[in-house]
């Protein structure tokens, strides 16, 4: 059974600082997704990573995938308040279910 673990679960950071959220998964997966969820809202797709070494960037967020280590990272550069949200990673294989992590609740303070 695939298990997905994120850390940290809670992250409070100052504006302008950098930080990384980690996502470990327990069994072989060929795709890794990152989603953002604002309070009371649904999930918004951020990135999909399909191969070892894949790196994708959008604004201040950059996601990477290391399939050998079964690890994905979401790096935040020069955080701004608008990035405050809960971030989920999800792993799975083509045609199968996705398993989500518990989420990382990010708060960016002025």
């Amino acid at each position: 059974e695939l298990k997905v673990e994120q850390n940290p679960l809670f992250l409070s950071m100052q504006e302008g600082k950098n930080y990384t959220i980690y996502c470990n998964y327990s069994t072989t997966s060929d795709r890794l997704y990152w989603y953002r969820q604002d309070p009371g809202k649904s999930l918004e797709s951020l990135f999909v990573l399909l191969s070892n070494g894949a790196v994708k960037q959008e604004g201040r967020l950059m996601a990477s995938l290391d399939t050998k280590a079964r690890l994905s990272t979401l790096h935040i550069t020069a955080a701004v308040h608008d990035l405050s949200a809960t971030y989920f990673c999800a792993a799975g294989t083509s045609g199968s279910r996705l398993t989500f992590g518990e989420g990382t609740q990010l708060t960016v303070n002025p």
């Binding site: 809202k41 999930l43 797709s45 999909v48 083509s94 279910r97 996705l98």
Partner: protein, 116 residues
């Protein structure tokens, strides 16, 4: 392009009552998912449809939950009877095959269920 539509957005019922949720996926998406999200946790899959066929319902509590996707488009999820522990957000998502989106699942706004 319209997103995934769900209704109702909120529902408050007493325990032992029935409740139903409706989902209309993104046009052309053949795969539809129902998830349950408890407070402070990630979504957990209840059932996945490929067109009108339920291909993964192993996590659906079949004693009280049922779902259907007639004609392979809209879907309904029903709980009968509801229990206190069913209070959660029920999310519908859809996806399509193809390399461009790599089966990315697009989520609806969810239905917040409170069972009293």
């Amino acid at each position: 392009e319209a997103g995934v539509v769900q209704s109702p957005r909120y529902k408050i019922i007493e325990k032992k009552q029935p409740v139903a949720f409706w989902c209309n996926p993104i046009s052309g998406h053949n795969t539809l998912y129902w998830y349950r999200q408890n407070l402070g946790q990630g979504p957990e899959l209840l059932i996945r449809y490929e067109n009108e066929e339920a291909v993964d319902d192993s996590q659906l509590p079949k004693d009280r939950f049922s779902a259907e996707r007639l004609k392979g488009v809209d879907s309904t999820l029903k709980i009968q009877p509801a229990e206190l522990g069913d209070s959660a957000v029920y999310l519908c998502a859809s996806s399509s095959e193809g390399q461009t989106h790599a089966e990315t699942q697009y989520f609806g706004p969810g239905t917040r269920l409170l069972v009293l």
